[in-house]
């Protein structure tokens, strides 16, 4: 998705422009801009890539340094929404304000003030209720595989007027509205950016997976035979409503989901329990608001679950002699992962032993090469927690680290 933005913007850059990013980035939000700098240099256009640092103790982005790097030549400010190594979540509103007050004039968009603000949400979106209007970002990119969903499917939000002003990044079928010899008209949004054959299977599976995850976040899932009949109808009814909302989210679309006989029967039963919840489905605007509400509620629950697990892990791991944690100690400031090292042991040995004990741990630089380089680390071990993990599993993971530390 970063490449999509980079490719679509590459012809807009002017000599002397700059891009401001950070040392917290995953390589996928540094390498495209590094590459763009080289691509443009070959065309005789010199742009600068400015990289803001972070506090080595807390992992917090040095926003003052970032602000000092942004000026009237800054076309783009881009930052991670949550570091996939330090976990740290920068203050996106503040960074957005800095970007938008840079004084840069976008060459194709007179009405736009300041630098574009692109957020890499790969680590943020899976565990946070993200509202692009509140953040006021111009782009938000994320990957669904970080949500336990299929590989190769990603999302990109862009402000409509910004996307309209940008070049397509791929050319071909679907992205055109009319083709004549010597004259091609590009299609409206979003089709302008949908050239080529879509990953239909991956997208369909992702859609189903999102519904499942939102239902999980709302507490609508249950084990058959373990709950009473009215509770089953209530939970299944809420699943059905969530499924309809997730599949017809936009106000200008009518409900497209065809109910099966079994679903119709459930629908009737659920209507007696919760008529208000079904009422919202008939009005396009209410449906849109209800979709927003269930997604926010589910993602807030998921975030709080992650925070609870992460805080417990931080508190316990930090008591183990020799363990060094990276990033903020307050789980509310970070996403649901913890990178750490154990004194006197190489990261690959620690990860090998954790994996052997049944604790899935990743080691290395986690594609956060710049931050590891800044901290002079050749690698760390990372534990990640998500909606499907339990406190019991966190305790087992911490106990495994403790056992390894004691046996050194």
């Amino acid at each position: 998705m970063m490449n999509l933005v980079m490719r679509s913007l590459e012809n807009e850059f002017r000599n002397g422009d700059n891009i401001v990013t950070t040392l917290l980035e995953h390589n996928s939000n540094y390498v495209p801009w590094y590459a763009l700098q080289n691509i443009l240099a070959r065309r005789g256009i010199d742009i600068e890539l400015r990289v803001a640092g972070f506090d080595p103790l807390t992992g917090e982005l040095d926003i003052d340094q970032l602000a000092s790097m942004v000026d009237s030549k800054t076309k783009l400010v881009t930052t991670t929404g949550a570091s996939n190594f330090l976990g740290y979540k920068p203050d996106l509103n503040r960074i957005g304000d800095i970007a938008h007050s840079s004084g840069y004039q976008q060459p194709r968009l007179d009405s736009f003030r300041g630098s574009y603000f692109l957020v890499d949400g790969a680590q943020l979106v899976p565990g946070t209720p993200v509202d692009v209007q509140k953040i006021n970002c111009d782009f938000l990119a994320w990957s669904f595989h970080k949500m336990g969903l299929p590989l190769g499917v990603g999302g990109l939000y862009g402000k409509k007027e910004v996307l309209e002003s940008m070049d397509p990044f791929l050319y071909g079928g679907d992205m055109i509205s009319d083709v004549k010899l010597g004259k091609v008209e590009y299609n409206d949004l979003p089709w302008k950016f949908t050239a080529g054959t879509p990953n239909i299977l991956g997208i369909a599976a992702t859609g189903r997976g999102i519904s499942y995850m939102i239902n999980m976040g709302l507490g609508n899932l249950f084990i058959k035979g373990k709950i009473s009949e009215p509770e089953r109808i209530a939970k299944e009814g809420r699943q059905l409503v969530t499924d309809i909302l997730m599949n017809t989210p936009r106000g200008d679309f009518e409900i497209t989901k065809q109910l099966t006989d079994a679903e119709n029967n459930l629908y009737d039963q659920f209507e007696e329990i919760d008529p208000d919840r079904l009422e919202v489905l008939y009005d396009a605007n209410e449906r849109l608001m209800a979709t927003r509400s269930v997604v926010t509620e589910a993602m807030t629950n998921i975030m709080q679950h992650e925070e609870k697990l992460t805080q417990a892990a931080i508190d316990s791991l930090s008591k183990i002699p020799g363990v060094k944690l990276y990033g903020p100690r307050n789980a509310e400031q970070r996403s649901g992962l913890i990178a750490f090292s154990l004194e006197g042991m190489q990261h690959q040995n620690l990860a090998f032993e954790l994996n052997r004990k049944g604790i899935e741990a990743r080691n290395g630089t986690h594609c956060a090469s710049l931050a590891h380089e800044a901290l002079e680390l050749d690698g760390t071990v990372r534990l990640s927690f998500y909606v499907y993990n339990s406190m019991d599993e966190v305790e087992k993971a911490v106990a495994a680290v403790d056992e390894i530390a004691k046996g050194r």
Binding site: M345, N349, R356, G358, E360, N363, G364, G407
Partner: protein
């Protein structure tokens, strides 16, 4: 002190092997040197050198361009453990010999195996 990376580079000096080894040769030796029965002990670098040499002999003989296989090896070895890594490598090497046209994507078998839940691998 013996420089294990330099030793690997002397043995595997063709460009396709030397380039990745220059970057991760030391990591490859220290990772393959992990004692699978006591992984928390310091890696046995001589053991690691021997295993790395064996691994490189096989992938450099089989693959036209073994770069991606070498790059992925330390990560896959740590995640899968010695036995499963070796089993997966047998599958990869057999496929690479029987279907040379598939070689460019076979490193993905290691990544994909890591992604599968341990009990299903």
């Amino acid at each position: 002190m013996k420089d294990h990376k330099e030793e690997l580079l002397r043995k595997f000096n063709q460009k396709q092997c030397a380039d990745p080894l220059d970057k991760i040769g030391k990591t490859l030796v220290s990772t393959f040197g992990i004692n699978e029965n006591k992984p928390t002990e310091d890696p046995n670098m001589e053991l690691g050198l021997g295993r790395a040499t064996n691994f490189l002999n096989r992938v450099c003989d089989t693959f036209e361009d073994p770069k991606h296989m070498i790059d992925i090896a330390p990560y896959a070895y740590v995640s899968l453990g010695t036995d499963l890594f070796n089993q997966t490598m047998e599958v990869v090497l057999t496929r690479a010999k029987d279907n040379p046209e598939d070689q460019a994507v076979l490193d993905e078998i290691l990544s994909a195996t890591v992604l599968v839940a341990p009990e299903l691998r």
